[in-house]
Amino acid sequence: MNYIPHTDSEKEQMLDAIGVKSVGELFEHILPELRPKSFDLPAGRSEFEVIEYLKSLGRKNSSHLTDFIGGGFYDHYIPSAVDALAGRSEFYTAYTPYQPECSQGWLQAIYEYQTVICELTGLDVSNASLYDGGTALYEAAMMAVRLTGRKKIIVDSGVNLIYRTMLYTYTSNLCVEFVETPVVHGQSCREDIYKHLDDKTAAVIVQNPNFFGAVDDFSDIVRQSHKSGALVIASVYPVSLGMLKTPAEMGVDIATGEGQSMGIPLSFGGPYLGFIAVKKEHMRQLPGRIAGATVDKDGKRGFVLTLQAREQHIRRERATSNICSNEALCALRALIYSSLLGKEGFRQLASMNYQKAEFAKKVLSKIKGVEVKRSSPTFNEFTVCLPINADEAVCRMIDKGFACGFPLGRFYKGLDNYLLVAVTEKRSREEIMRFANSLESVLCA
């Protein structure tokens, strides 16, 4: 079946109209060596064959495992109402739903999503969302470069390596200099950060809780950075904000994060949700769409995209970002999720995550040879040191029916025996006990 809707004669007509002989001629300005030799696509298959093939790929997943893996993406419960509401065709099939004349519902949803992000972070202005936590961090870094006119950025190595890698990849052809500072006893190393802070520093990037699960208060780093004229960017885990000090309370200038934990299912590669929120004074450097509330000519409340002069369809090459899209459907899920929980529900959720993780710490620390790291307070994720290689422990635990955590040696040198364990509200007391018993038995094996 041919999915290109134009017939040969229609194609000829179009080429004729623009005075070009062939489709190939349209690409002649691209050097031959830069053109793909072949797209290497397999031959077409029937619907039945394709579905069987995809099912066989799906069977490779071990979706039956009880999940104790975090590392930036968490197994939270998603209320059925999220799927039911976000799946409505008014939302589900709308594309670039920004025209105020016909998209009031969507614009209001985006506006309310932005309100949720501002409430959670305590900051003044959020955009309509970005692709994921990593792209949000990149956009925040470039905001800081534009706002300060400086090009050096200090990055705490407690920031998720996935985000750091994205940051370096995005900026690889831009003149931005990065300095990484170490994590000492689970915490951002103040001494090292301050050593590198100078009048060329655009921003200090930190994460809370950091990749090892440690909770921190960056107020001191913020004070010191502001003295040097640098901004502070914090990547935060939204669920933790139900109980932890907010970025605004620490004085952070730009907060970003991964919104997957708010009603978006875990999946390999997304789609996920990046959020970004800033102090009002920085809002003109925000990337992407922003929905705003206004009144129509009869004085009735309505919603429109606002501050559009930042964006590339108006500002062209001087735009704040090339981002001209957002993760509207994922942002909608996050909005529905947060609305279902409410402020009190969000607090309870955070508390459950914290309590269950503390319980797991207690149980795991009783296993001989297992050391739970306690140098810093944690939220719902913590580091344990095992008597064997953590990769090996993970493999053995799969046979017991557990995805038991993230082996830190994959991201950090010298931590081969360290395992990062996450415990969400979904894990029952019984599951945590079985998890500990299984771990004990595989360590003895």
Binding site: G149, R284, Q308, A309, R310, I314, R315, R318
Partner: protein, 129 residues
């Protein structure tokens, strides 16, 4: 169209009032009128080095963002902070309360590249036809 006699002009509709070693700069009445209601102005930072004919500010109206170019080279010694809260001053008073910045001129000979009031008047009349 208001074209004061004591100023010099560029073809991009900026003006400069030379006061000793310094120049006050802004955009012309013709410019503000073409842009419509101005909602925000991104001004150069104090201490920034401006180069003649290069970007120095951006003016946002409701659906457009227009770059403003420096009429002369020099260092920014003062910016008009009032414009942050009241960008409409540029619409109301382009040559007085709507000034953008004061710069310390680094090359006085660049004055020769600017238009006199009479030249600018003729130039804008040509554009309006």
């Amino acid at each position: 169209m208001n074209v004061p006699e004591d100023l010099l002009y560029t073809k991009d509709h900026e003006w400069a009032r030379i006061e000793g070693d310094n120049a006050v700069i802004g955009i012309t009445d013709f410019a503000q009128d073409s842009l419509g209601d101005i909602t925000f102005i991104d001004l150069p930072k104090q201490g920034a080095e401006l180069k003649q004919s290069e970007w120095c500010a951006t003016v946002e109206s409701v659906k457009a963002a227009s770059d403003v170019y420096a009429p002369l080279s020099g260092q920014v010694v003062k910016v008009n902070g009032e414009l942050a809260e009241h960008p409409e001053l540029v619409n109301k008073s382009a040559y007085d309360k709507g000034w953008f910045a004061v710069i310390k001129i680094s090359d006085m000979s660049q004055k020769g590249k600017l238009m006199s009031p009479a030249q600018y008047k003729e130039y804008t009349e040509g554009l309006s036809k």
